[in-house]
């Protein structure tokens, strides 16, 4: 949820029209400004605040919820979901927003492709940086979860590689999507989609509570699998179904990467 509410406001502002050179300066300023590191760091507080508000605050009203047949504190239920969302948002922010910017305005890739670097390598390079940022957030979040007693140290260690997989899957898909975006106004759609996933992926209440049709739809969407995988590893129960969730994310990562490099090639080598 690194973006979510704030992201909406940010994107609203940007789509409110600073195109071209303006956006160029806009993003450039964001990246080089005095506040950049503070901003990067503050990205960590956001999921923490959500955890405190929804997990602890609303959790006090909720009491216990069922996870895999046993009852746990609501905060225990919500925390892994926030972790998965945090991995998703971190990766998406880096790959959609920044890749789009480099594509459209900075023309970074034109210069890179004049060298022996291949499109798929560009895609992998971007993905690596996105993953670094994503893991930076998830590690800190896992530490907080352990400190607050929302998972065990073992659970945290098990969940950590899962967040990396979530980051790669969403990062690759985000990159593929960013090659289709027409302008900043499309970011509104993207953010809306992201926010909808955030709300309905078994994040705040178990998907079994949703109406059946709704539940089936949700099980097809990516964040659901990310949440289930991370929650299974951090809180339990462990089971073969976790492999299904992981496989979904692997397929998503491979497809995303394939589409992204094909598109980059097509857009740049014409």
């Amino acid at each position: 949820m690194t973006v979510m509410v704030a992201g909406r406001a940010v994107r609203r502002g940007i789509s409110a029209g600073r195109v071209g050179a303006v956006v160029n300066r806009n993003v450039g300023a964001l990246r080089s400004g005095p506040a950049y590191w503070l901003v990067l760091l503050s990205g960590f507080f956001e999921p923490l605040l959500y955890l405190l508000s929804i997990g602890v605050g609303v959790g006090a009203l909720v009491g216990m919820v069922p996870v895999g047949g046993r009852m746990v504190d609501y905060a225990v239920f919500v925390a892994p979901a926030m972790l998965a969302v945090s991995a998703m948002s971190g990766a998406l922010a880096e790959t959609t927003f920044n890749v789009f910017w480099k594509f459209k305005y900075a023309k970074t890739y034109d210069a890179v492709l004049a060298t022996p670097v291949r499109p798929v390598e560009i895609a992998l390079g971007e993905l690596t940086w996105a993953l670094v940022r994503c893991l930076f957030y998830t590690v800190m979040f896992l530490v907080v979860m352990v400190v607050l007693g929302l998972t065990s140290a073992g659970g945290a260690l098990a969940a950590f590689p899962a967040t990396a997989l979530v980051g790669v899957a969403f990062g690759a898909t985000g990159m593929a999507i960013s090659t289709f975006l027409r302008g900043w106004q499309d970011f509104d759609l993207l953010t809306t989609g992201q926010f909808t996933l955030f709300l309905f992926s078994g994040t705040f209440s178990p998907v079994q509570d949703y109406p059946v049709v709704f539940e089936v739809i949700v099980t097809l969407t990516p964040l659901y699998h990310a949440v289930e995988l991370v929650r299974g590893l951090a809180v339990g129960p462990l089971g073969w179904t976790l492999l299904v969730h992981a496989a979904y994310l692997v397929v998503m990562a491979v497809c995303g990467l394939w589409v992204a490099s094909r598109r980059i090639e097509k857009l740049l080598l014409v």
Binding site: A16, G17, R18, V19, G20, V22
Partner: protein
């Protein structure tokens, strides 16, 4: 009784903290004139323009615009000014036409009147075919013309133009000058800043040369040239670094050595060239030209104007 000048400044000062941008200038601009502030960057032209356009209060001195006090009557004065700023501030997300109608509403024009004016003005600046289009794809010259059209939307008595053609290509500049000349013909008072000599000579009836926040000369372009220069100037270049300046003593009325060339100010350029050759000097290049404001500025400040 003569009409009060449209713009009248006496001992006008603008300070920003310790820095004095405008250091006690006297200016009077009459109705129907085209008046120029000429000078290099940092001479205080833009600060003066901002005071005249009533967005920046003078630190000291007297300033009256259209017979009113710019601090107290800013709103009333601005309603009768047209301002074309140095940096374009068009609304990139509005269409060309909407840029004009939106701006017209700031002056209290009715919606119908705003639309009518916008249509007329787009014809005037030759942008009628771009009316429904966005601002973003317009060229620099088109944007500047649109900004000028926008500044005219309230049918201003005084048009303030800050560096109107900076950054434009020669063709765009000439088109713009032609439009501004037409404006002047309609009786609009033009006040402009520029650091281009040719622009000042083309457009201004009268101008002041500013340097370091002060006015160093005032007059019409021809007056300034005849007062501070000679009708013709000979530019001489010599192949080697030999100091020929001493050998030119007495040629023309004055000799100005520059790093890359020598300027000989003369009433008759050809005669001066003949004299140079008679003295046995062999310049690698010779150019005889009419004197310009550039020479005036060089003479007044010892520096060239365009860096």
């Amino acid at each position: 009784m003569a009409e009060e000048p449209l713009i009248y400044a006496r001992g006008l000062v603008k300070r920003f903290g310790e820095f004095t941008a405008v250091d006690g200038i006297d200016v009077a601009v009459e109705r129907g004139e085209a008046f120029g502030f000429l000078g290099p960057n940092g001479a205080g032209k833009s600060s003066t323009m901002r005071m005249i356009s009533c967005v920046s209060a003078p630190t000291a001195g007297e300033l009256r615009i259209l017979g009113m006090d710019p601090v107290r009557d800013g709103v009333a004065i601005r309603g009768r000014l047209g301002v074309c700023p140095q940096l374009d501030n068009l609304d990139a997300d509005l269409s060309v036409f909407e840029n004009l109608t939106t701006y017209a509403r700031y002056f209290g024009l009715s919606r119908a009147e705003a639309r009518r004016r916008a249509g007329e003005l787009l014809e005037f600046v030759q942008l009628a075919d771009r009316s429904a289009g966005k601002v973003e794809p317009l060229s620099g010259g088109m944007k500047r013309r649109l900004t000028i059209a926008r500044a005219m939307v309230n049918d201003p008595e005084i048009m303030l133009l800050d560096e109107p053609t900076t950054g434009l290509d020669p063709q765009a500049r000439h088109l713009l000058w032609e439009r501004l000349y037409q404006l002047k013909q309609r009786g609009v008072t033009l006040v402009l800043t520029t650091h281009y000599m040719d622009e000042a000579e083309q457009l201004c009836d009268r101008l002041v040369v500013m340097d370091g926040g002060r006015i160093v000369a005032e007059g019409s372009p021809r007056e300034l040239i005849s007062r501070y220069s000679t009708p013709e100037v000979v530019e001489l270049r010599f192949a080697d670094g030999v100091d020929v300046a001493a050998k030119l003593d007495g040629v023309g009325e004055r000799v100005d050595p520059l790093p890359d060339r020598l300027l000989v100010y003369a009433r008759d350029g050809d005669a001066a060239v003949a004299e140079v050759h008679r003295r046995g000097l062999a310049p690698s290049s010779v150019l005889v030209r009419r004197s310009t404001l550039e020479d005036v500025f060089l003479h007044l400040t010892g520096r060239t104007l365009v860096e």
